[in-house]
Amino acid sequence: MPETETEAVTAEGTGAATSGATIELENLTKRYPGNPNPAVENVSMEIKAGETVIFVGPSGCGKSTTLKMINRLIEPTSGRIRIGDEDVTDIDPVKLRRKIGYAIQSSGLFPHMTVADNIALVPKMVGWSKSRVKDRVEEMLDLVGLDPREFHGRYPRQLSGGQQQRVGVARALAADPPVLLMDEPFGAVDPITRDHLQDELIRLQHELHKTIVFVTHDFDEAIKLGDRIAVLRERSHIAQFDTPEAILTNPTDDFVSGFVGAGAALKRLNLTRVRDVGIADFPTVTVEDPLQTIFNKLRNGPHNELLMLDRQNRPYKWLRRGDLMRARGSLARAGQLVHDTVTRDATLHDALEAVLTDSGGRVAVTGRRGEFIGVVDMKTLMDNVQELLEADRLTAMEHQHELEEQRVHQTEQELEGGGGGV
């Protein structure tokens, strides 16, 4: 199955996309005149190529300021910024920004330009040919799941909030920048749409491997999207910079654990995706199969149940052995409509939710176009969660051990250094 997806992607032309670049921040500080305390103080971090890093922290902690210093919308007072081995601290900011995608809250689309014009802005600025820009616009709309023919000529005010945000992401990615900065991009949309957009971003990142720096104040969003999360406290001090798993199971201090909040075990479910657990096969029939075949399959199959697919291979109905009898041979009345499906990118949390609400205790997993892939059931979920938690506990213990060693080492060094200095 993964092969087909890769093929589809290449066919759409995103195969040759630029993948991410490293970002290094070195002692970044921002002071505003008239304020004795810096807004951002001495931030150093290294972001790997192709990684999604989330800055999360309470409002006013300087996370946005730190982000905007990367594309120099805010000029740092001191410190260096390196992107892909190039020191960009002193280059022309306009040129720098054309190489960095930037998506902001409530999309920031220009209302006087059509969707296509909005997306075409950066490619035009960097001097792409007309035909290339045109193709790229179609490609980007397709990439973010909007039908190019339908949305091409629309104005932003004719779109829903979620659609606007999609176009915003398409615009940020249009000139194929290695780095994408996102400043609370999903902050202004409703929770359901936000969930969709997050899934979409995960899918995109799966295909594109950009370096993404994403600012949010929502820790759940951070867990869902981040490869690594930087929990920031006031003045953008890094309280912890680690994988979501490590932060959930092993928060460094009270500030971080306060931010993680209650229900860490449940949140842990958000970190594993359906694709990582065993997706089981399930006997299926299609609506076009003759009734006799369906009967035979039901009788001989391992379960006393079948999943009926529609003509596009999408899950349609659950059929149980007795259903056909009760419905007196009429397929229209037999069985239970499939109410909920999950994609392979869905989290275990979503899967659990779906399994719990379905009386049969399992949920159908679908691919990109809604086609059936397999099922996940309660037992699989339980087993997986047990394993995960066990593994987390082990790594957390190891981690703690390492940290303690490190601290001891540090203290020793400091003592020595202090002694030498005097």
């Binding site: 919308l73 409530s106 802005l121 600025m125 909007l146 006799q292 229209a332 409509l337």
Partner: protein, 289 residues
């Protein structure tokens, strides 16, 4: 809906009659692509309707015809005759149009760039001073202003035009400033963040977004100018004001009426033209829906 007639035989599987490409199955389960198949964008509505194009010019024509019929059918004495014959009315009309056009041109040349400059970071602090100055220009009675200018610059159309310009700078200036300031900081940040230069942000984002307000200011200024241009006569600038004042001075009602009616017609005509320009120049995406 479904193959209900397909009983047991296993032959001739009828297919469910779902429209091809339809994403939902009985409203369930398949909203993972894009949930709302939103209606196709409404056909671009014509912005300038025929009613808008026809009604006002028709009314104005009727007024002009009635006035013409009336003036040719009443008895005019020699003084009135003198004022109205020999192409004098046409001359005054064109003088008036020229005064309005030239003064509006200068108002635009001065007020819009000034308004833009006053919203740039470097000059932002100077904005109140300039607005106050423009306010004084408008607060002074136009006729007093004109008198002062005549004393200073002498008589002639030039003096009249300067007076009119000073009087009309304020609405355009303040609307330009207001229009540029009303743009969400979000927009500017997005524009800068994607790598637009300062000039690019101004030309591609700020000005197009401010167009509706700027045009509203221009429309006000135009109508204002038609009115103020009637005072040009006191500065020796000619225009329809000549007819009105001579009508008053010689106590000839027909002359006064012709001057006034033509001024009113011109003001309405200019306002109508400006409203059309507003509709045509406002960027499509900014229209209220």
């Amino acid at each position: 809906m479904s193959p209900s007639h397909q009983s047991g035989s296993g032959k001739g599987p009828a297919t469910p009659t779902r429209p091809p490409g339809e994403h939902d199955v009985k409203g369930h389960a398949f909203h993972d692509e894009e949930s709302d198949p939103s209606p196709a964008p409404a056909a671009p509505a014509r912005r300038i309707t025929w009613r808008k194009l026809v009604v006002l010019p028709a009314v104005l024509t009727v007024i002009l015809v009635i006035t013409y019929v009336w003036i040719t059918n009443i008895h005019l004495d020699s003084i009135a005759e003198n004022s109205l014959s020999g192409g004098n009315v046409q001359l005054r009309w064109w003088q008036h149009v020229r005064l309005t056009a030239i003064s509006t041109f200068w108002v635009l040349i001065i007020a819009i760039p000034l308004g833009i400059a006053l919203t740039r970071r470097r000059l932002r602090k100077a904005a109140p001073a300039f607005t106050a100055l423009a306010n004084i220009g408008q607060a002074t009675p136009a006729i007093g202003l004109l008198a002062l200018l005549v004393i200073w610059l002498g008589i002639g159309p030039r003096t009249a035009i300067i007076g009119i310009v000073i009087y009309a700078v304020l609405p355009v200036l303040s609307n330009t400033v207001a229009g540029l300031r009303a743009i969400e900081p979000n927009m500017i940040e997005a524009a800068r963040g994607m790598g637009m230069s300062g000039r690019g942000v101004l030309l591609k984002v700020e000005l197009p977004l401010a167009v509706p307000l700027i045009l509203a200011g221009v429309r006000t200024a135009l109508v204002l100018n038609v009115g103020t241009a009637t005072l040009a006569t006191f500065g020796g600038g000619g225009g329809l004001g000549d007819l009105i004042t001579s009508g008053i001075q010689t106590q000839r009602m027909p002359v006064l009426i012709i001057g006034s009616v033509l001024t009113v017609v011109l003001a309405l005509l200019v306002d109508w033209l400006a409203s059309l320009a507003e509709l045509a120049l406002t960027p499509r995406g900014l229209e209220e829906r």
